[in-house]
Amino acid sequence: MNRHLVCNNLVKAFGGFRAVNDVSLAVPKDEIRAIIGPNGAGKSTLFNLLTGFFPPTSGRILYKDKDITNEPAYRRVKRGFSRSFQTPKIFPELSVRQNVYLAVQAYYSRSFEWNIFKFRSLDLPGKTEDLLRMFDLARHGGQLAGSLSHGDQRILEICMVMALEPAVLLLDEPTSGMSEVETNKTIDLLMKIYEEDPITMVIIEHDMTFLFRLADHISVIHWGQVIAEGTPETLRTDPWLARSGLGTAV
């Protein structure tokens, strides 16, 4: 399926400023798509439109050929969308374990919402522990999430996002502020996730290693528009990108 996640002529204007200015993208199923571009290019705004954080000024978003342009965020999550934020959005005053538990519970509430008793038959704590182990967070389980290192907070957020068993994973600069070791750890983790069960990923990222190891396809965004698209290899040699100075980022 080539038209898995599609957006057509998306525009988001804040007053007179068009943060996203006529963006069209088509991400095939199970592709890992990287979105790159300088700061303020409109990458995060595009993410917010795709995930329903706010509605676009104009344009359409389709998922599996269904129009989801004006669907609220939580409904898109129920369709399988799951995202992280540039600054991790976790529950800082709860323990790491509670953070993951709430994500696990939220996932299972999709089918059992308001049925308090049904929850008792599910082993939510067990599933929580499995996830904590998988993301190497078990030893921090009792710690307050807000007291984790920045890198571990990002890992925790990815862990919570993965608890939703997403079909479309959207990560906003997952490795920014991470050490090289943490970055490699995160890449390994994402590769493992993808190899076990391929899903569609859209990732905003600057890190070179990250892009070349993971991305199938890259979209370059500048001034709210897609100015180039291609595989990491073709973009590296694109003369236009080299001229604009963006080539060094690729």
Partner: protein, 312 residues
């Protein structure tokens, strides 16, 4: 289990303490109705805290549901001659429906805007009650109704009414504790801690906030119905936003992150008011000073002082 062993022990201990209050209170120069009032405000504040401490939403409008049920109880007894066993549930149902409707209108607003709207709606109720003389008795309040028997149980004597309220009080503690322990309660905590993350976990945030609003208002209604019966009187101040403010004050003094915090706050509030008001009519002044001290120095309230930050 819906309750942990610890929950049962604590609620049992609190229940045991209140069970013997009618014997203790007269010995320390107080009276049985003071104990009854503490339990009624305890119901109000514990329910109110589903919204404030549980979900992180501040309302100054819950007096509307408190007063509405108070007036409804009085009117149903006075005009419709309904037995108490019907008047109380009908009054609580009224508060529930009013909260469902108002909540649906205002829950989309966030933070300060929401709080302002709750004041506006609450004050609307206040002005209706104080102006509609023929129905509510206007500023003089609604009199002429008396609590009598509830399903054959004579609740006229103070001590009998105390144990009547005690039953509702225990049920409230058990119910609210179970609610907060449930997956719904945990979802409310997620919304309180990070509303965006909650939304992106797939939680229909507005629906849960609306639920918390209505659930807490239902307990306000129950408390209001009992309060009108305690006094055999309903008056416009029951609906005033300052009455909602009292519930906020109780929660803050006692500690809104602790289950028994609002109850402790209610106990201190009612007890101190009872003592101080025998010396001066300006009882609100020292209570206000206590409030300021807690906001400045003990933000987690009295029970917060004992809490250990193990983050579990």
């Amino acid at each position: 289990m819906i309750w942990s062993k610890k929950d049962i022990l604590w609620i049992g201990a609190v229940g045991g303490l209140f069970a013997v209050l009618p014997l203790l209170l007269p010995k320390i120069g107080s009276s049985i109705p003071v104990g009854t009032e503490i339990m009624i405000w305890g119901i109000f504040a514990t329910g109110f805290n589903i919204l404030l401490g549980g979900t992180g939403i501040l309302s100054f409008g819950h007096a509307a549901f408190f007063g509405l049920a108070g007036y409804a109880t009085g009117l149903l007894i006075l005009k419709d001659r309904l037995p108490l066993a019907l008047a109380i549930p009908a009054a609580v149902l009224g508060a529930f429906l009013a909260a469902a409707l108002i909540g649906a209108l205002i829950i989309r607003k966030r933070g300060i805007y929401f709080a302002m709207l709750t004041i506006a709606f609450g004050q609307m109720f206040y002005f209706i009650a104080s102006q509609w003389n023929s129905l509510t008795g206007g500023l003089d309040g609604l009199t002429g109704f008396k609590r009598t028997v509830f399903l054959g149980f004579d609740i006229k004597p103070e001590v009998n009414f105390f144990y009547f309220v005690f039953g509702f009080f225990l049920l409230t503690l058990l119910f609210v504790r179970a609610l907060l322990n449930s997956s719904i309660g945990k979802t409310l905590v997620a919304i309180r801690e990070n509303v965006h993350r909650a939304e992106f976990l797939g939680i229909d945030v507005k629906k849960y906030q609306h639920f918390a609003f209505v659930a807490s208002a239902t307990f306000s209604g129950l408390a209001g119905a009992l309060y009108a019966l305690l006094l055999n009187f309903a008056f416009p101040e029951l609906l005033h936003w300052k009455t909602s403010g009292d519930a906020v004050l109780m929660s803050v003094i006692g500690g809104m992150r602790a289950f028994f915090g609002p109850l402790v706050g209610a106990g201190i509030f009612v007890f101190l008011r009872d003592i101080i008001s025998t010396y001066t009519i300006h009882w609100a002044l020292p209570l206000g000073a206590i409030f300021v001290v807690f906001v400045l120095f003990f933000q987690k309230g009295i029970l917060g002082i004992f809490e250990r930050g193990n983050g579990r």
